[in-house]
């Protein structure tokens, strides 16, 4: 009976496992285009955590529109961490008392481990010769961008255009308003989400230029085999900072605080920064950024804080009911 000791040992191991190692499950509620990113990050983090603590951590993902995801967490989806497209959506979760109001100062770099920026995707060879924001309002140019009312990503697009006009010589709020109004008159289709807008541009062949997050533009270009589209970097654009945070209340209830904190800190590690760069997000680490310099050309950016204060102010001024977008958006 040679088999018996082996079996016994196996049984003993199986029974001993739960006592030795803690199994932890985290729920990361994220927005749409981070699917591939977090798939890679989660594998790396689980291996890292296992090596350091011997525990098995499983990270479950939920993806959807950023605002919709925030609402789900507000309504009781037990997210341990949220990784969304804009701080306003996490603010909304904080307003319901699920995490501290000062969440954005708890991690470095405005709690955004990776960034992106707003660029233009144009058809191969750039037939309409689109170089900068000003070219978007030339007659005969059609612009595709999603509706900032339903797409968190599109709010960055809107603010990028506004900031560009504001920074022109002699620029002020009135001129910016006129510029963005004209810009939206060039928008033939107002998709509800960023991926929808990308599809409209790439698959349906509508429009001459897609205003998009750089990671989305790079992905779209890669998907098309690099043959159909070019990326144009405007003279100045906004630094999009998608933030992350631990949902204090849920993490405390589920006893996952420690691992949730470690998970978000891991996003700043060299290993994770490399994964983020490979998934077309700009890493914060200068070393990793230098390694991927070819993929991310130099771009002049302004931050939301520099031009608009913070997201609450931007939301109230531009995107709330009856605010500027409702006054100047398409249909007006």
């Amino acid at each position: 009976m040679k088999l018996r000791p082996t079996l016994l040992a196996l049984a003993a191991t199986v029974m001993a496992l739960p006592a030795l190692a803690k199994d932890v499950t985290l729920l990361n509620v994220s927005y749409d285009p981070t699917r591939e990113l977090y798939k890679a990050v989660n594998t790396a983090f689980a291996a890292d955590w296992k090596a350091k603590h011997g525990d098995t951590v499983t990270i479950q993902m939920s993806h959807g529109g950023s605002g919709k995801q925030a609402r789900a967490v507000v309504d009781g989806l037990p997210a341990d961490v949220v990784t969304l497209a804009l701080a306003y959506d996490i603010d909304a979760v904080a307003d319901r008392g699920l995490l501290a109001q000062d969440w954005q100062t708890r991690l470095p770099d405005n709690a955004s481990p990776y960034t992106s920026t707003i660029v233009f995707l144009v058809r191969k060879g750039n037939p309409k010769n689109i170089r900068d924001w000003g070219d978007l309002v030339r007659s005969g140019v059609q612009v595709i961008t999603p509706n900032p009312k339903t797409s968190g990503g599109a709010r960055w697009n809107f603010l990028a255009a506004w900031g560009y006009a504001l920074r022109l010589p002699g620029g002020n709020d009135d001129k910016a308003r006129a510029f963005v109004k004209t810009l939206f008159q060039h928008v033939p289709v107002l998709d509800t989400g960023a991926r929808g807008a990308t599809t409209t541009f790439t698959q349906r062949g509508i429009g001459d230029v897609l205003v998009a997050w750089e990671n989305e533009a790079l992905l779209a270009k890669k998907e098309a085999g690099g043959e159909q589209f070019d990326i144009v970097i405007p003279s100045i654009t906004i630094l999009a900072e998608p933030p992350v945070a631990v949902v204090d209340k849920n993490a405390a209830e589920r006893g996952t605080r420690e691992v949730a904190d470690a998970y978000l800190t891991f996003l700043y590690s060299p290993q994770a920064q490399d994964i983020e760069a490979r998934n077309f997000y700009r890493p914060r680490s200068p070393e990793v950024a230098a390694k991927y310099a070819a993929q991310f050309p130099q771009v002049k950016t302004f931050t939301l804080a520099e031009v608009f204060g913070d997201w609450r102010k931007a939301q109230a001024k531009f995107f709330a009911d009856g605010a500027i977008f409702d006054q100047i958006g398409p249909g007006n």
Binding site: G67, K149, P188, V189, I206, G331
Partner: protein
Amino acid sequence: MRRRVLPGFGLSLGFTVTYLGLIVLLPLAALAWKASEIGLAGLPRLLSSPRTLAAFKLSFGGALLAASINVVVGLMVTWALVRYRFPGRRILDALIDLPFALPTAVAGIALTAIYAPNGWLGHWLVPLGIQVAYAPLGVLVAMVFVGFPFVVRTLQPVLLSLERDVEDAAESLGASRLQTFVKVVLPTLLPTLLTGFALALARAVGEYGSVIFIAGNIPLRSEIAPLLIVQRLDEFDYATAAALGVVMLTFSLVLLLLISMLQRWTRRWAEQSA
């Protein structure tokens, strides 16, 4: 007391009321409760805004038109399926249900792919000046698509049980084809047609998934009412979203009641003319 097939009137009524209460009334009550937060004063302002009006006009106008088209085409299709025997009839019959089975987003993407300027139909239609995708016409196409099975499936059993003898009798009494159809067939079918119309209408009014992909969603032009609700939700403005929902429901309820009254009236008319 007359014997009924199934015993236990009290039990079944209790079950019916409880079940309807839980499944239908409770969520609706929650909606009304949430909507009451904006108060009666907020309602006229919300409803009088040009954008809300335009969206409601598109949603209800589009749905009424789509249901009308479905009734006419649905009657023809059902007639062909029931009255004629031809190869491929069963496959055709099975195809009718596909809009039921398809996730609406898939339907929307498929329709958009076909009608977009670079799509199969789109690249013929657009040069002729007919823009379907990203225009109000696209909304109509999507609404027709999702509502179609309702008309056929409600009409089919009634048409199957409709005796051919009656038509033969009408013919032998000297009625023309048109007279037979208008005076004999149509009155019997009308109540059922109205049921199909109501179902197709209700489905089209609330349709979001498929319409959103093909509409273009430009405010005042191709923005449907459910999208307005989603936008309010994205502003974390649950009360206004719920209020818009209640207005849509009330509107739909009034329409459905009207149809049901019309139905009773046509049934009586059918019995009188029979």
